[in-house]
């Protein structure tokens, strides 16, 4: 039985006021145990050999399977489909612990993306048939999920789709190309967004497409700067025919499915970053105490001490935004504003934290063996995936009727 099935979903029922939302972030004993278990698992299984896998861009199927055995891939999937049945807040707690214990940020990103952008929408919008067909495999990790929405010419506007799906005697024919598909080279199942109607918001539909569907071709893995253990590729659709039962959430609901999926994915993919920042902070404090110049620890110098204080400030602020957004999504429904604020804060703090850590370690921080330069390369991706920092600002301002 996956370790993450041991605890039931938590419950919190404290409402905040209209000036900032809930303020009670108390964790249940079960959630604390889940997070501690995640730290232990990730420290034992996901912390070794990362320098080599990063250098060679190697995705480890063995470690993917270990994560599945632990229950990560199915963390949001109800127990009746072999998942852990946890809510968003509990999942964030677990993934924070994973980020703290692991070193393989790419693998963790692949797992979080699978759980949030493929299994997540199937849980929320899938028909009973779709759930029973696809969720058990996604939950136990035997099937790898991916989402294909971004297109070569769509830029940061993910909904500006050129890929089309045309109905033909009850089936649908998909044509177009997708790019930056996380898990693309290894995925067994794709959620593919295509235009099925007019240019409006209601003209997009989401399809569940298995890898072996005729007319679907996966491009070669794309080389990239960071999270190199998470494979990414293009996906091409050339007359790809799927049945009407492949539609997720109804014809024309694709943009809404995508919007809700992004709310969830912003939280789940950023939760590990909080754990990474906590680990970096502790490393920097330790280094500042131990490293001496002229027999004086460098932490005695205000320039070093203040930078560490700033790391802690940014970490805690980002952490609270993430917890609040996860709480909001668990208990209050839509959380676009909250998740966009959290994603923006965490990703930017993540990059800043990595840069500070390298500065504090000096030349050693630039060396591969110290594993800080890789953290920075991995962190930069966080300001780009699941909507760039600029897109998050567009969302936040747009929800105020601006921009």
């Amino acid at each position: 039985m996956p370790a993450l099935r041991l605890a039931p979903p938590m419950t919190l029922a404290v409402e905040g006021d209209s000036f900032g939302g809930p303020v009670d972030f108390g964790w249940t004993d079960d959630q604390v145990a889940l997070r501690q278990g995640a730290v232990g698992f990730a420290s034992r299984r996901l912390a070794d050999g990362v320098i080599e896998r990063d250098r060679d861009s190697v995705f480890s199927r063995d470690l993917w399977d270990a994560c599945a055995d632990f229950g990560l891939q199915g963390i949001l999937v109800p127990e009746e489909w072999q998942g852990g049945g946890h809510d968003t807040l509990s999942a964030v707690a677990v993934l924070e612990g994973i980020g703290y214990g692991a070193r393989d940020n790419g693998l963790v990103f692949s797992v979080a993306s699978h759980a949030a952008s493929c299994a997540g929408p199937l849980v929320e919008f899938g028909s009973e048939d779709q759930k029973s067909r696809w969720l058990p495999g996604l939950a136990n990790g035997t099937s790898i999920g991916a989402t294909a929405i971004t297109e070569p010419d769509s830029g940061s506007n993910a909904l500006a789709l050129a890929t089309t799906a045309v109905e033909n005697s009850g089936d649908w024919i998909l044509d177009g190309s997708k790019t930056f598909v996380t898990n693309g080279p290894i995925a067994d199942l794709f959620l593919i967004y295509a235009r099925t109607g007019a240019s409006g918001f209601g003209g997009i539909t989401c399809f569940v497409v298995p890898r072996d569907a005729d007319g679907l071709a996966v491009g070669p893995a794309m080389d990239k700067m960071g999270i190199r253990t998470s494979p990414i590729s293009q996906v091409h659709l050339d007359g790809c025919q799927v049945p009407g039962s492949a539609i997720l959430g109804g014809v024309g609901s694709g943009a809404m499915v995508f919007s809700q999926t992004m709310d969830l994915e912003r939280l789940l993919v950023m939760a590990p970053a909080i754990g990474v920042m906590q680990r970096l902070l502790e490393r920097c404090v330790g280094h500042a105490r131990e490293r001496t110049v002229g027999s004086v620890p460098i932490g005695k110098q205000q320039v070093i001490a203040h930078r560490i204080a700033e790391m802690e400030l940014e970490l805690e602020a980002a952490r609270l935004l993430l917890y609040r957004a996860a709480w909001h999504r668990t208990h209050s429904g839509a959380a676009t504003r909250e998740s966009a604020l959290a994603k923006l804060a965490v990703s930017e703090a993540y990059v800043a934290s990595c840069r500070t850590a390298i500065q504090i370690f000096g030349g050693y921080g630039y060396m591969v063996d110290y594993e800080l330069e890789r953290e920075l390369r991995d962190a930069v991706a966080a300001t780009l995936y699941v909507g760039t920092s600029e897109i998050q600002k567009n969302l936040i301002a747009g929800l105020r009727g601006l921009g």
Binding site: G120, V123, G200, G202, S259, H331
Partner: protein, 101 residues
Amino acid sequence: MANEIKPGIEAEEVEGRIISFVKRELLGPGIPVSLDEDLLSGGLLDSLGALRLATFVEGEFQITVQPSDFVIENFRSVAALAEYVRRSIGREGAGAPDTGN
């Protein structure tokens, strides 16, 4: 005779409150919108507009729009959204459990 479905909210005025918000905040006062007009496929609302509409009905009618409820059937038109609001109030008033993910 007024049919109060929640303190301060009568069933007959749900459509009016939604139309008022759509005109004031999303379309602009000079653009007409009818009860059954397709807001989404017709291109009247973009993704942010739909999200703002969801946020509005949550606050205005004190309901929770679950992620799985954020689908085209419920937001296609003012009439469809008003019906969804009334249904949600009835469901939540009956003590339906929070099924948030």
